[in-house]
Amino acid sequence: MGVLVDKSAKAIVQGITGTQGSFHTRLMIEYGTQIVAGMTPGKGGTSVHGVRVYDTVQEAKDASNADASIIFVPAPFAGDAAFEALDAGLKTIVIITEHIPVRDAVQVMYMARKEDAVIIGPNTPGILTVGECKLGIMPAHVFRKGVVGLASRSGTLTYEIAAGLSVRGLGQSTCIGLGGDPIVGLSFIDVLKEFERDEQTKAVALIGEIGGNFEELAAEFIATEGYSKPVVAFVAGRTAPPGKRMGHAGAIIMGSTGTAASKIEAFREAGVLVAEKPSDVAKLLARKLDKKA
């Protein structure tokens, strides 16, 4: 159960021999994720934490029957790494790397649509279906199994909110980091649709931030489609000034577009409860779920 990845997912790690790739490969394996092969050009034949390393994605896939990939490749080469994964026929690709140029990301997203593949990220903490599969870099101990589907544009803020939920006994089904870049593979609408179909998920938390209009589009979708599960939102960046990039390449108010106020208003109009502080997400969700029960 959960969405997009479960315990059957078989993943390769691109960039497995690097510091981050190797460190998180160990943690993903410890979580129970099936990391079936690794890939670093020129390091074929070696192994990392017992995972065999190949020179190309195709070799890694052929040897392991992988269906997913997680990419820890430096930004100048990350676009190419994603193309290699798509070309090899992998259908779920998590791009952890940040600072990928927009021009590269645009091309990758277009080809992913053509190949019917799902891209999570770039600049994402990844995806984690609690107790089943972690394709990412999240600290596993903050999550607990449960009924809340969590989607976020931020990494650490997701852990903050997930930990808050867990402490209150509100576990999670799947937690997805959409990514902090202007161009990312999944939108809030995409994940709302996934959570709608998932029986384990009983409520959804959306963690947005300034920049772009994914939150406004999600609010419109919830209102017009009559979304069946309760949704609670948090939007970071109320104090952000216009025209300044707040850490994420995608977190920028352009003129009057992308303000926290606009997103909060759109959510409220759609009947979505908006948390003022990260800890309020758990309170609001508890209230919604109690009412439903």
């Binding site: 930004a75 990312v184 502080k277």
Partner: protein, 381 residues
């Protein structure tokens, strides 16, 4: 990275885009010489990076070289939108028949580039998009097809041009697209793109913003950004070290890891009645050294009265951060009160390092935000 108008115009000109004849002047005397060289009425335009300078009096017109000198003197003595003017662009004043808009930018929702045009240029295009969306023409650019001649002609036609003017204008659009792609621009615009009295098209004002993440393949911009951009010492140091830093107007210095968490930290400080002095994201996987640099930047801001460090480790390891705080303590001394919240990957080790050094660590972000605001309230003790 924003380019100055003159830098954008020089790039546009290289691509054969028509721009008015112009020169960069750093003194009033230079401006007078350039105006006599142009030998016609000129526009004297302050070179600053913030948009909307015309409305703030940042562009003056001069009929004679002496007037150009005077106008330049005026501009160089002024601050436009809070920025001191360092140079002006002196260019031939063009006879305007009509002002158009054309730009290439990123369409986030559609995950692609988009060409935006309007027959009513010279205004704030976003405002126009809201008040009169019918006056905007948009062509979403398929990354495989690219923006091609027929797209450009379609737009020119929709703006009301036919015959040679349609093909001329289309060629201007195409060149602009080429500039945008070659420079990895997230915004390349001509506003206004002027139809002159004799029916030609000239880019009267231009903006070019380069995707920061693509700078690794544009060494030509990288060297320049340090010297000329309008940065404070803290911003400059952050940029040199690849840290995301934004100066704000409060007195609570804030460091965290992860943009969303840092933004939420700023918001929390404000909710409890404090005012953030800055945004500083040490990013994913920050080393001890980078943490020390971050702390150094925030401590060097005279407005900062208390520092709030909020770390929730994922790719970042708490022990590295803890070592960084101790490193900064050794290097610059901790001159201001600090509130530290540290949880996540390797948190036991991180807490042990700080506790052994006598530094108290909290584990709730909101409790820490509240504590920070209390310290400010008690006069920083």
């Amino acid at each position: 990275m924003k380019l100055f108008e003159y830098e954008a115009k020089q790039i546009f000109a290289k691509y054969g885009l028509p721009t008015p004849q112009g020169f960069l002047a750093k003194t009033a005397k230079e401006a007078r010489e350039f105006a006599s060289l142009i030998n016609a009425p000129v526009a004297v335009k302050s070179q600053i990076l913030v948009a909307g300078r015309a409305k703030s009096g940042g562009i003056l017109f001069a009929e004679t070289p002496v007037e150009a000198e005077r106008a330049t003197q005026q501009l160089l003595e002024r601050k436009i939108k809070g920025v001191k003017v360092q140079s002006v662009w002196v260019e031939e004043k063009i006879a305007i028949k009509k002002e158009l808009y054309f730009g290439i930018t990123v369409d986030r929702a559609n995950r692609c580039y988009v060409a935006v045009a309007s027959a009513e240029g010279g205004v704030d295009i976003e405002e126009l998009a809201q008040t009169a969306p019918g006056k905007i023409v948009k062509v979403i650019i398929n990354p495989v097809y690219g923006f091609r001649t027929y797209h450009a002609r379609q737009i020119a036609k929709k703006l009301g041009y036919v015959g040679n003017q349609m093909t001329d204008l289309a060629s201007v659009f195409l060149r602009q697209y080429k500039v945008a792609m070659d420079t990895d621009a997230e915004l390349a615009e001509m506003n206004p793109l002027v139809e002159t009295a004799n029916g030609k098209f000239v880019a009267a004002d231009t903006r070019l913003i380069i995707d920061d993440n693509a700078l690794f393949r544009h060494q030509e911009f990288k060297s320049r950004s340090m010297e000329e951009a309008e940065l404070t010492p803290q911003e400059l140091q952050a940029q040199k070290n690849g840290l995301a830093y934004v100066k704000l107007d409060g007195d609570v210095g804030i460091i965290g890891n992860g943009a969303g968490l840092v933004m939420a930290t700023l918001d929390a400080v404000q909710i409890f009645g404090g005012r953030p002095a800055n945004f500083l994201d040490v990013g994913g996987g920050a080393s001890a050294d980078m943490t020390a640099v971050a702390l150094d930047i925030v401590l060097s801001d005279p407005d900062v009265k208390v520092v709030f460090i909020n770390i929730l480790g994922g790719i970042t390891r708490c022990d590295e951060v803890a070592n960084g705080i101790l490193e900064a303590q050794k290097r610059v001394g901790l001159t201001k009160p600090m509130v530290i919240r540290l949880v996540g990957t390797n948190e036991e080790e991180g807490r042990r390092i700080l506790t052994d050094a006598g530094i108290h660590v909290l584990d709730s972000m909101e409790e820490a935000a509240q504590k920070t605001v209390e310290i400010i309230g008690s006069g920083g003790e």
